[in-house]
């Protein structure tokens, strides 16, 4: 990105649970006004990193400056400038939307207009309904509304769309993009590639507690040095060297699914098909696509983002 003002600066954060190191020396900076994604499979340390930044866990080593304040020494000030939506939080189910927003608003020195916030989060018709009876998408929008109630500069969202249906996810994406338009900085975690691609200005890929890449989504894909992927299975299991196929720069194989990365889709495809006919192998589920962040992840770790 263009040189921008840093709003978060993470300096060597480490978190251990016994022998297990959940976060192993993360270092990155977040620019003001961008949507920053922490991407990785379950257990990569995304949530732990985020929870250290919002003060819910104490780092074993390192620190971070969030909104100009040190999370180790000035946590109270940090909490005033951040808004948090946590994974797997339930709210007081017997309160109404309006009541809980007023409640959370009262925890801060100042809060924004609750009716406007309800309107913004598309919750007007649920204003006086109890949280208990709301849908997953509505609850998630309410959770984000609670994070916004004191008009924070930085908003942390931990897997905001996990478990939502496609339509609800899209509604939430719109909301997040609108936050960006208003100049808010958003830090979110996700394990959905498409989501990271649509929402994030920059992405940090995490795996096993380590930050393994950080760039814009476009740049990350470009670094694969191949823009197309050919994915297929053989009907019968065969052992053969696929890298010899013309134009193939890299082979990724997951169980019986093979992925060929190439810059010359046509050449690779023709060559694959003639090879298959020659050896009398039957191709199944053949598809071609442009390389995605998913491929970046497989390329870097040899594993898929979501196993199984």
């Amino acid at each position: 990105m263009e040189s921008q003002q840093e709003i978060i600066s993470v300096e060597g954060l480490v978190k251990r649970y016994g022998d297990f190191t959940a976060v192993d020396g993360s270092e990155f900076k977040v620019h003001k006004g961008e949507v920053f994604g922490l991407l990785g499979p379950n257990g990569a340390g995304k949530t732990t990193t985020l929870e250290m930044l919002v003060g819910l866990r104490k780092p074993d080593e390192g620190t971070a400056i969030v909104g100009g304040f040190d999370i180790m020494r000035e946590l109270d000030k940090v909490k005033e400038v951040i808004g948090v939506q946590l994974q797997s939080t339930t709210l007081f189910e017997l309160l109404t939307v309006d009541e809980i927003l007023h409640l959370y608003g009262s925890f801060y020195r100042e809060h924004i207009s609750i009716p406007d916030l309800i309107e913004d989060m598309l919750l007007s018709e649920k204003k006086n309904s109890r949280i208990k009876g709301m849908s997953g998408g509505q609850k998630q929008r309410l959770a984000i509304a609670l994070a916004l109630v004191h008009d924070p500069q930085i908003i942390f969202l931990d897997e905001p769309t996990t478990g939502l249906d496609p339509q609800a996810r899209r509604t939430l994406w719109d909301i997040i993009l609108r936050l960006k338009e208003r100049g808010k900085t958003v830090v979110l975690t996700t394990h959905y590639m498409d989501e990271a691609h649509v929402l994030c200005d920059r992405i940090a890929i995490m795996d096993q507690g380590k930050l393994i890449a950080l760039d814009t989504p476009g740049e990350l894909v470009r670094n694969l040095q191949s823009d197309s992927a050919v994915e297929f299975r053989f009907k019968d299991n065969v052992d053969m060297d696929l890298s010899k196929i013309e134009g193939v720069k890299q082979v990724g194989s997951q169980k019986d699914v093979h992925v060929l990365y190439t810059d010359n889709l046509q050449k690779t495809l023709t060559s694959l098909i003639s090879l298959a006919s020659e050896k009398e192998l039957k191709l199944v589920d053949l598809q071609t696509r442009t390389a995605t962040l998913e491929d970046v992840f497989i390329h870097m770790t040899g594993r898929r983002l979501r196993e199984g």
Binding site: L56, K79, S88, T89, Y104
Partner: protein
């Protein structure tokens, strides 16, 4: 301040909207009070049922019956024959059977003889305590008649001066105990259950992510629970007044002071349990483990002095024992807060001690 007010309001809303909890936490003590009160409510004073079989049917025998009737403690059954009366005695329906045989009048009228007339009185040996009292009463009645016959003039008399003693029934004992029980279970079990479940569901963590202070959160909890408890105690006392005519003899201020002290002490213990319990499922049994012994040992249903000697030291330190005793003294006897200094100090000690422990064991997550 705004957070404190909003949190108190939110907690009260949650209480009032949780109809089922609200109903059962109130219904149980009231049900228990009415059941126990109806069965045992008047069982404290001795009531004697005496069957009298008048075979003489004379002026003098009627005189004796009249004498016995003077005693309010005796309920007299006159319409039985000897056989029936003895059968009732054996079954325990009657405490005593007095038989006035034929020839009673002539014997009494004849005055002093070498062998005084013998009046057969049957009693049930299995219920000796009651029978002894009954025999004493019958003796008195017979004695009065004897003295009248011989024109007896006493040399010395006792001058008994009635003191306005309290005629306490079991229900008088029970109601303050029920109020104490309600304060204990609603606060100790209630706080332990609610806080550990809020922790499990991440509600506390989410609040920890805001600038809310733990002290504000706890203060609001206390306020809301105290308001709810006060209301519930009033309802129970109101029902007790309507159904059993129980009233508060002492000052309401003292009652309220002890309700407050009890609420705080048991809430603090509840916070400790919530801190110790790893899951909301384990909070219930831990709270039960503490509340059950307290129910039976702590003077809720039975007087503490009835407990075995070896349990006395344990019983004497239980917070519920002092709460129920203080409420009882205030409601039944009308003791003022100055008379109950020891109880207040012990409850206060529990409150402070438990809050210190709770502040170490309390976890947001």
């Amino acid at each position: 301040m705004r957070a404190y007010y909003q949190l108190t309001l939110a907690q009260l809303r949650i209480f009032l909207r949780n109809r089922q909890v609200l109903f059962w936490t109130l219904a149980f003590p009231i049900f228990l009070m009415i059941m126990l009160g109806a069965f045992l409510g008047n069982g404290n004073g001795i009531s004697l049922s005496v069957a009298i079989v008048d075979e003489d049917k004379s002026e003098q025998s009627k005189e004796l019956v009249k004498e016995l009737l003077k005693n309010e403690a005796i309920s007299l059954e006159k319409d039985l024959n000897e056989k029936e009366a003895l059968k009732h005695l054996k079954k325990g329906d009657m405490s005593l059977v007095v038989i006035i045989p034929k020839g009673y009048e002539s014997s009494v009228v004849n005055g002093v003889q070498a062998n005084p007339f013998k009046l057969p009185v049957y009693y049930n040996e299995t219920n000796l305590a009651v029978s002894q009292v009954g025999l004493q009463l019958v003796n008195n009645a017979v004695d009065t008649i004897s003295k009248k016959q011989v024109d007896y003039k006493p040399v010395v008399v006792t001058d008994s001066k009635g003191v306005d003693a309290l005629n306490l029934r079991y229900i008088d004992f029970l109601v303050p105990g029920i109020v104490a029980m309600m304060i204990m279970s609603n606060n100790m079990n209630g706080v332990a259950g609610q806080i550990s479940s809020w922790r499990e569901r991440g509600i506390l963590r989410r609040m920890q992510g805001t600038t809310l202070k733990a002290s504000t959160f706890i203060a609001a909890q206390i306020t809301a629970r105290f308001m709810l408890n006060g209301l519930q105690a009033m309802i129970v006392l109101g029902v007790a007044w309507l159904v059993f005519g129980i009233e508060v003899r002492g000052s309401w201020l003292t009652v309220i002071s002890f309700v407050t002290l009890g609420t705080l002490a048991f809430m603090a213990i509840g916070f400790i349990i919530a801190g110790i319990a790893k899951t909301p499922e384990s909070a219930g049994p831990i709270a039960g483990f503490l509340s059950f012994p307290m129910l039976f040992l702590g003077g809720v249903f039975f007087p503490i002095k009835d407990m075995p000697e070896f349990l006395q030291p344990i019983v004497q330190i239980l917070p519920i024992a002092h709460l129920s005793h203080a409420l009882r003294e205030t409601m039944n006897v009308g003791a003022s807060i100055l008379d109950l200094g020891l109880e207040a100090i012990i409850l206060g000690g529990w409150l402070i001690g438990a809050f210190i422990v709770a502040s170490f064991t309390f976890k947001w997550e």
